[in-house]
Structures are given as structure tokens and as C-alpha cells.
Amino acid sequence: MKFTQEALDNLAVLSRLSLKNEDKEKLVEQMDSIIGYIGEINSLDLEAVGVPDKIHINVFKTDTVTTVSSPEHTKSIIQNSKDVLGDYVKVSQVIKQ
């Protein structure tokens, strides 16, 4: 199945990216060739080789919170935000009236 510009536009919305119109044609072409390549994986008959049932395990142990919050810690973390009010990060309005 050919990768279309419509599919690209949908992906851009999901990815929170706004693509320039002049870049789209080339991007569709590139995505189509990459998807064609990775699609080779579909030629694999996994049933025939036998799929192991235990998959998707990446966390070796449970997370524990070790950082003790302090005013200095907060300050050092929010110093990288471009718009700060006191100890808070300012953002644009999320819900419109």
C-alpha cells in the first residue's frame, strides 16, 4: 500500500508537528521507501518459527522515588523554562471559554 500525503498529514497531527507544504512531497516519498523496507518484517511467518510468549519486558525492577524536593531543587529544575512565575511554569490557555 502506497503511503499518501493524507496519511502524512494525519501522522503530523498525532505527532504535534506542523510540516511545511514544500517539504511534504519529498517526505511522503521518503516515508514510503522506509515503510516499504520495514514492511519486509511482514514476510516473516512467526507462527512457523514459534513466537516466545514472554515479550515486552524492559523494567528490571520497580521505581522508587529518591529525590527529596527542596526549594533549590525546584529552582534548578525550572530555571530552564522560558516563562516562569515564582515556582510555576506559565503555559497558554488550554481550555477556551
Binding site: V49, N80, V91
Partner: protein, 466 residues
């Protein structure tokens, strides 16, 4: 090299400051042409490290790394210093904390000099994707140094520092090591904590060392490979000890060669010749060369370019312009977020986010992502079986020699150059690239060995014989 410098420091033939100054002088002379570094750390930080290292030497508490200048890839956080991951998105970002590897280096008395250039957020195989301009290969300035850790490789290659740190998600340490004539190690998944390294593909990423000799790489690796509770995948000390015992057994003296994998289309004839010559050399040193079959290994690259972008699309979600990074205002929160990401992130990063979003989207998830994950488990079983017979699996590091700037403008062509390095990340085993000679154009060729999980010691032992 590190051992020599260590002796000179201990015998007071040279001071830490003199050693660091020598390093800075070389960088000053060479880096304007090569562009391996994105910046030096602040003078205040440099001076405090030099003083601390000299004190350790004077008081007899020095380690082998004490006073040794080290360069750090720009995606590893150093407290109070800039880390931009080669991206405009993080231009001027100052880290509020140290990565685990940085804490370990500071503890060892190493002197962190500066941050190295890289493909943006480690996405690329040539360092051409850096938002701050490409790094040149010190061995041939018309060619790429490899990537994504191209800066970390180049600065060691031109003798700016003896060792450096990079990250490797699909070959980003081994391939630039090969392209710059160096030794580079991708440790076992879980061996080095990624706490403080900017995540790209979390089930694949590892931090690792570059050096001119296997011994230097080994010293730096042992300094950073310690347990850390802040990375959920970091191996516990007990697990490390079990592995150590497992591999303290004598070598089988057998090297596995997946012939079909190496003989595939697209592998340069000179690279292949050099590979077989290196094997012959090892044979003469008492190793048996064993033909092995890894039926699914050729599929690893396709699996990699599904799993990695999937994880990229998720990991890059944090760059929203709110808490850190580039911020472009919009009418709404969503518009601002979209604008910040579109202006802050480069083409390759955006392409991988889109690709990851594609393979994870409803309807395609089973066809791509789940299938790639299943293939990964099958590959692990294949590798496990082979490691019951052989000590290491050998391949060339890269199918081709370093290419010229702009030669690989098609993304897929660039991806195909990762064919030999991605399997180690997919299954999580350690892999080392060792220089194995030059081709007819005097370009370096690298020899790669993958070992079983936790068998870094074996890799060092065999690599020293090449």
C-alpha cells in the same frame, strides 16, 4: 596511554594542569577545522576538577582515571553545564544534575573538558544531522566521522583527549570508532546506567567509551559500569557478580562467523577482504573459526527501524517547549507546542517521530511493532544458542568505509549502513569495534565482535590480540 599518563602523574613528571592544558591546546589548534566539540565546560568547573584531581594524586588516593581529560557526548547531563543533544530545541539548556556516569567520572578524579558534537538527539550515522554543523573525519577531512557520536570519536582521533564517552542505540559508538580508526564499546544492556543520558530508544540505548587502545576503553568502561537504582534497567551488583563468575571460565577459543550475513549485497569487497584477513590472523593465534547460522539476523535492521522510531516518538514527547527547550508562543497550548516542536527539531528527528507514530498507530501496531518485538525475542534465542558454542560473533563494523559529506542524502541509504551494528542493540549483548587496517584509499576499517550478555571481559581479551 592512560596507564602511561597515570604513571607520569603519580611520579610527578607532569601535573594535572599541564596535562589538561596540553589537551586544551590541541583542541584549540585542531577543532576549528574538525568541529568535534560544541563547547568547553566553564573555566570554574575545569579549575575545580583540576584541583580535586591534583589533590587525589598528592594524597595517594588517585585512580587510573584521575587527571585524565575526557570529552562527553552532548546528550549526557553534567550539572551546571550546557547539554543540547546537538539540537536547537535544547540550545543553552543547563542541566540541573549529573548523569550517573558523570558522578562516577567525578569520583574517579577524571577531568571533564567539554561536550562533543553529535547527530541531533543521536539520530544519524554521520554527524551531518547536528543542528550546529557537521564534524569532519580527522583522517580525511572530506569524509564523515560516522555517527551519531562523531564528535566523541573525532576528538580522540586528533589527540584532543585520550578517551571520550558516547552513546550507542544502533551503532553510534562502534561505527564512528570504526570510521576514525579507534576502539569503541557498546556495553551489555543494563551494564551502564543511562540516568542523565537523554533517551532515544530506551530498550536499546547504552553509554560507552571511545579510546585509541582496548586497554583505555576497558579502564573507562570499568569506571562507569556500576549499579544505579535510578535506572530501572541497571544491573544489580549480585547480577554483575553472577555474570563475572560465568565468564571467568577459560575461553572456548572459538569465533563465530555468520557467513551468509556478511556475504550479503552491499558489503564492500575491501571491507570483506580485511575482515577475512583479520580472522586469519586470529586463527594463527589459536582461535577456531566456526561457521554459524543466525537465520533471522538479516531482519534485525527492519526490526530496529520499527522499535527505535516507536521509542523515539514516545521519548521525544517530552520536548514540548514548556519545562525546557525552545518555546514558541501560539494562540493555544496545542498550537504553541506544535510550533515549538516544529521549529526546534530537525528533519531526521521529525521523520523518526512520524515513523514511530505510524508503526504504533491503531491498525499498524500488530503488523509492525508487535512483530518486531516478537522477532527480537526470536533473535535473543538464536544468539543464546550460538554463544553456547562460540566466545564471540564477528562481523565487519560497517559494510562500507567512511563516505563523503552529502553522499548519503537518502535516509534509507543511511539506515542500511547500520546493518552490522544494530543486532547487538536489538538483543542487548556487548559489542566492540577494533581497528583492523586500512583500505586502498587509506580509510580505516573496523572489526566488530559481539559477546554474550555480560561478557565484556572476553571482548577485551580477544580484542587485545587484534
Amino acid at each position: 596511554m592512560i596507564k602511561d599518563l597515570h604513571t607520569q602523574l603519580i611520579e610527578k613528571k607532569i601535573t594535572v594542569r599541564e596535562l589538561v592544558d596540553k589537551s586544551l591546546k590541541t583542541i584549540k589548534e585542531k577543532d576549528s577545522d574538525i568541529h568535534a566539540l560544541l563547547g568547553l565546560y566553564t573555566d570554574e568547573f575545569l579549575n575545580s576538577q583540576i584541583d580535586a584531581a591534583q589533590k587525589m594524586i598528592d594524597s595517594g588516593t588517585a585512580t587510573e582515571m584521575t587527571g585524565i581529560p575526557v570529552v562527553i557526548k552532548d546528550n549526557i547531563c553534567v550539572s551546571g553545564q550546557v547539554a543540547s543533544a546537538g539540537s536547537k530545541m535544547l540550545d543553552g539548556y543547563v542541566s540541573p544534575y549529573d548523569a550517573h556516569v558523570i558522578s562516577e567520572l567525578k569520583r574517579s578524579g577524571a577531568v571533564l573538558i567539554g561536550r562533543s558534537n553529535m547527530d541531533e538527539f543521536a539520530m544519524g550515522s554521520s554527524t551531518e544531522n547536528s543542528a550546529y554543523g557537521a564534524t569532519k573525519n580527522p583522517l580525511d577531512m572530506t569524509r564523515v566521522p560516522g555517527g551519531s557520536s562523531g564528535g566523541s570519536a573525532a576528538v580522540v582521533a586528533y589527540d584532543g583527549v585520550p578517551v571520550s564517552l558516547g552513546t550507542d542505540t544502533g551503532g553510534s559508538i562502534r561505527q564512528p570508532a570504526s570510521f576514525c580508526g579507534l576502539v569503541g564499546l557498546k556495553p551489555t544492556y543494563g551494564s551502564v546506567s543511562r540516568y542523565g543520558a537523554m533517551a532515544m530508544g530506551s530498550s536499546l540505548d547504552q553509554i560507552g567509551p571511545f579510546g585509541k587502545t582496548v586497554e583505555d576503553v576497558e579502564i573507562l568502561y570499568k569506571t562507569i559500569a556500576t549499579s544505579d537504582t535510578r535506572d530501572a534497567t541497571s544491573l544489580l551488583d549480585t547480577e554483575r557478580n553472577t555474570k563475572k563468575t560465568l565468564y571467568s571460565a577459560p575461553l572456548k577459543k572459538k569465533i563465530g562467523v555468520p557467513k551468509k550475513f556478511i556475504e550479503q549485497e552491499g558489503v564492500d569487497a575491501e571491507v570483506k577482504k580485511n575482515f577475512y584477513d583479520t580472522l586469519e590472523n586470529l586463527k594463527n593465534k589459536g582461535f577456531e573459526i566456526v561457521d554459524i547460522d543466525l537465520p533471522m539476523v538479516e531482519m534485525s535492521l527492519a526490526a530496529y527501524y520499527i522499535i527505535m522510531p516507536a521509542e523515539v516518538s514516545s521519548n521525544m514527547g517530552r520536548y514540548d517547549g514548556v519545562r525546557y527547550g525552545m518555546r514558541v508562543e501560539g494562540e493555544s497550548m496545542n498550537e504553541g507546542l506544535t510550533k515549538s516542536r516544529s521549529m526546534g527539531l530537525g528533519d531526521e528527528v521529525q521523520r523518526r517521530i512520524l515513523l514511530g507514530t505510524y508503526v504504533l498507530s491503531s491498525g499498524y501496531y500488530d503488523a509492525y511493532y508487535n512483530k518486531a518485538c516478537a522477532l527480537r525475542e526470536i533473535l535473543k534465542i538464536e544468539f543464546k544458542k550460538v554463544f553456547e558454542i562460540v566466545d564471540v560473533i564477528a562481523t565487519p563494523t560497517s559494510p562500507i568505509a567512511p563516505w563523503k559529506f552529502g553522499e548519503k542524502s537518502d535516509p534509507l541509504a543511511m539506515y542500511l549502513a547500520d546493518i552490522f551494528t544494530v543486532p547487538a542493540n536489538i538483543v542487548g549483548v556487548p559489542a566492540i569495534s577494533v581497528p583492523s587496517g586500512l583500505d586502498s584509499k587509506n580509510l580505516p576499517i573496523g572489526f566488530q565482535m559481539m559477546g554474550s550478555w555480560g561478557s565484556e571481559e572476553n571482548l577485551f581479551t580477544i580484542a587485545k590480540m587484534i
